[in-house]
């Protein structure tokens, strides 16, 4: 009988020890997060219509503006860029062309503007090549607002009398990157 009592005490001690191994009433945990360089953009103007600028004089350039919203985070030693390319040239044939201008000097040019922390590139001539032409650059530690920051591209297209009367369309692809 004495043996039984001793065994019961041993079981009680063991039970208490097992409970301690299952946790406490206020445990703590650690959340690990790596925030990396990142970028995104939204082209607010799904379609940008170019119309003849100015009044009075004919054959003024066709102009229009594309609105963008960008999101960016660069690292402390990183950079960022926004670039564009004409991914589909004007069509149908007979009108303006970025890839093969019908007259030397015909061009689709643009002047970008961008809010801080971006720095707008100088005015550029758009290209159909695989290389992006610059819209804006970002330095290290650049951060947009959560709602994004604004940018725009003001277009100007030569109004060459050679263009046949009609409607023409091209596609512009914008790319943003951050390191």
């Amino acid at each position: 009988m004495k043996r039984i009592v001793v065994l019961a005490a041993g079981l009680l001690l063991a039970a208490s020890s097992a409970f301690a191994q299952l946790g406490t009433t206020s445990p703590t945990g650690t959340l690990a997060l790596n925030v990396g360089a990142e970028a995104g953009l939204v082209v607010n103007s799904a379609t940008t219509t170019l119309t003849e600028s100015g009044s009075g004089a004919n054959f003024q350039p066709y102009t229009g503006t594309t609105s963008l919203t960008y999101y960016i985070r660069t690292s402390s030693s990183g950079t960022g860029t926004i670039g564009l390319r004409v991914s589909t040239d004007f069509g149908p044939a007979g009108g303006p062309s970025v890839g093969t201008p019908p007259t030397t000097g015909d061009a689709l040019t643009y002047v970008p503007t961008i809010s801080s922390p971006g720095t707008a590139a100088a005015g550029q001539t758009a290209s159909t090549g695989s290389t992006l032409t610059p819209v804006a650059n970002f330095g290290n530690n650049a951060h947009s607002t959560y709602a994004g920051n604004s940018a725009s591209v003001a277009w100007s297209l030569t109004n060459d009398p050679l263009y046949a009367v009609g409607a023409y369309t091209a596609t512009i692809t914008y790319t943003i990157s951050a390191t």
């Binding site: 990142e38 007259t103 050679l162 046949a164 023409y168 512009i172 914008y174």
Partner: protein
């Protein structure tokens, strides 16, 4: 409790890409549209001096140079250049387009118009054409899908003004307005 923490961490990891998607993607497209319409323009030499050379009372002559720009519609389009004497010769006592001092006095002209450099044919005016202060008279006409060079194409109007002895000596000037149109 640990299970709860694990679930929270997983939930955060799943939420991160969703938030990123809401903030845009790394590429975006826009379509650029342009509608090219029929259009025309011209430039004109500011002053044309008419002079008389050779025998006395030979007509006063001179040439006005134009540069025209035109684009007409591909189907059914047309265009024209016309002129009108919008301000008659002045001061009084000299030539007059509206009221010639002598019957037969006139300001006539002939036209030379180069074809549109990129497509089409220009048809010059009938020579000679008598100018008017009350109506536009033709310089050239253009047909369908006519397109000039971006630097323009040339045209000229060669003037001939009667040298009527009745004109008082003096300097006279008139204003001629050229109009170009395309459809």
């Amino acid at each position: 409790m640990k299970r709860t923490l694990y679930l929270a961490a997983v939930a955060i990891l799943l939420t991160a890409p969703i938030a990123s998607a809401q903030l845009g993607t790394t590429t975006g497209n826009t379509t650029v549209n342009v509608t090219v319409g029929a259009e025309a323009a011209l430039t004109v030499g500011a002053t044309t001096n008419l002079t008389s050379t050779g025998t006395n009372f030979s007509s006063y002559t001179g040439t006005t140079s134009l540069t025209y720009f035109i684009r007409t519609t591909q189907s059914g389009g047309s265009g024209f250049i016309k002129l009108e004497v919008t301000t008659d010769f002045a001061p009084a006592g000299g030539p007059s387009v509206a009221t010639p001092p002598t019957t037969g006095d006139a300001l006539n002209y002939s036209c030379a118009v180069a074809n549109p450099g990129n497509n089409g044919t220009a048809t010059s005016c009938t020579s000679p054409t008598t100018s008017s202060t009350t109506a536009q008279t033709s310089v050239a006409t253009f047909g369908t899908d006519n397109r000039s060079l971006i630097g323009g194409n040339s045209a000229s109007v060669a003037w001939t003004l009667t040298n009527d002895p009745k004109y008082k000596t003096g300097a006279y000037s008139a204003v001629v307005t050229f109009t170009i149109s395309a459809s």
